[in-house]
């Protein structure tokens, strides 16, 4: 008997890794009229559904997916949310 879970993974650059996209956006903001914004970092969001016997198993599968494929652990971190579909 398996359950379907909806997953949303957020992949972001690890702290200390240079983020030229984030830096460029941040630099552009004052010229566009947005003051007082800093710490801009750009990442990606990946969504999918996964089948598993229970939530702990689903979490394990998602963690493996995150470290083996969805992120490059040399430069990226992941966090995810998982809810029964």
């Amino acid at each position: 008997m398996s359950t379907r879970f909806d997953v949303r993974v957020e992949v972001s650059l690890r702290p200390g890794i240079a983020d030229p996209q984030g830096a460029t956006i941040e630099r552009a903001l004052p010229a566009l009229g947005f003051e007082g914004v800093d710490g801009v970092r750009v990442g990606k969001s990946i969504r999918f559904s996964v089948e598993a016997g229970d939530e702990p198993e689903a979490r394990r599968r998602v963690e493996e997916l995150c470290t083996r494929l969805l992120s490059n652990p040399v430069i990226e971190d992941t966090r995810f949310e998982l809810t029964p579909a």
């Binding site: 890794i17 240079a18 030229p20 996209q21 460029t24 494929l69 969805l70 490059n72 040399v74 430069i75």
Partner: protein, 224 residues
């Protein structure tokens, strides 16, 4: 005669240039489809430049799981020469065959330019025929060529003389101006510049030939 297997992933686009440069030097080039479960009988393997799987997710992230990569990994483990050029370098880092990662260029511009490289080490299958200090003029063509690694990895690369090429004038923000590295044994090499595009006077530079000749000579790796 040296036989070189050039892996073709969906989206690779430099495989023919590599074959042509290899054959101009008297070698034999053979294109190997990424879905092949084994390699043909070759003396060296090249992962060429291009956009394998459209660079989707991350450059090389999907290509590292191609069926042929198991055979490439075994070939490398047995000491076979493996050279990743540009996208090929990205595949090798994603596959864990070389340390570090290639990020977006620091200036966020796609770079298509001829650059000067300094040979830093001759202890690799690609640089064994060159001399430390040689300056080579070779084109780069990339958006994600910014070599990144943590300080511990950089220390290892320096101590073990595994940085084989550095940019004379760092175009993309690469850590320590690193343009190319090798593994511990010196048989697995990755570099962002394209030696096959500096392989004839007609192309503007023949400086890539010394690198390709080293690979074809099968001379092994001096001092390792």
């Amino acid at each position: 005669m040296s036989r070189v297997g050039v892996v073709l992933f969906p989206g690779s686009n430099c495989e023919h240039d590599v074959v042509e440069a290899v054959e101009a030097l008297g070698g034999k080039g053979e294109i190997v489809w990424h879905g092949a479960p084994s390699l043909p009988d070759v003396d060296a393997v090249v992962l060429p430049g291009g956009f394998a799987h459209g660079d989707y997710l991350r450059p090389g992230a999907l290509a590292r799981f191609s069926p042929v990569m198991d055979a490439v990994r075994r070939f490398a483990a047995d000491g076979g020469p493996v050279v990743g050029i540009c996208n090929g370098f990205q595949v090798l880092t994603e596959a864990g065959l070389l340390p570090g990662a290639l990020q977006k260029n620091a200036g966020l511009k796609f770079l298509c330019a001829s650059v000067e490289l300094r040979v830093e080490s001759v202890g690799s299958v690609l640089t064994s025929g060159a001399a430390v200090g040689d300056i080579l003029r070779i084109p780069i063509n990339h958006f994600e060529g910014n070599y990144t690694c943590d300080p511990a990895t950089l220390a290892v690369l320096d101590t073990e003389e595994r940085v084989i090429l550095r940019y004379v004038d760092n175009p993309n923000g690469s850590t320590d101006s690193i343009a190319g590295i090798c593994n511990e044994a010196g048989n697995v090499v990755g570099l962002m510049p394209h030696p096959e595009r500096a392989s004839s006077a007609l192309l503007g530079s023949e400086d890539g030939l010394v690198l390709l000749r080293s690979l074809l000579s099968g001379a092994g790796v001096p001092g390792r």
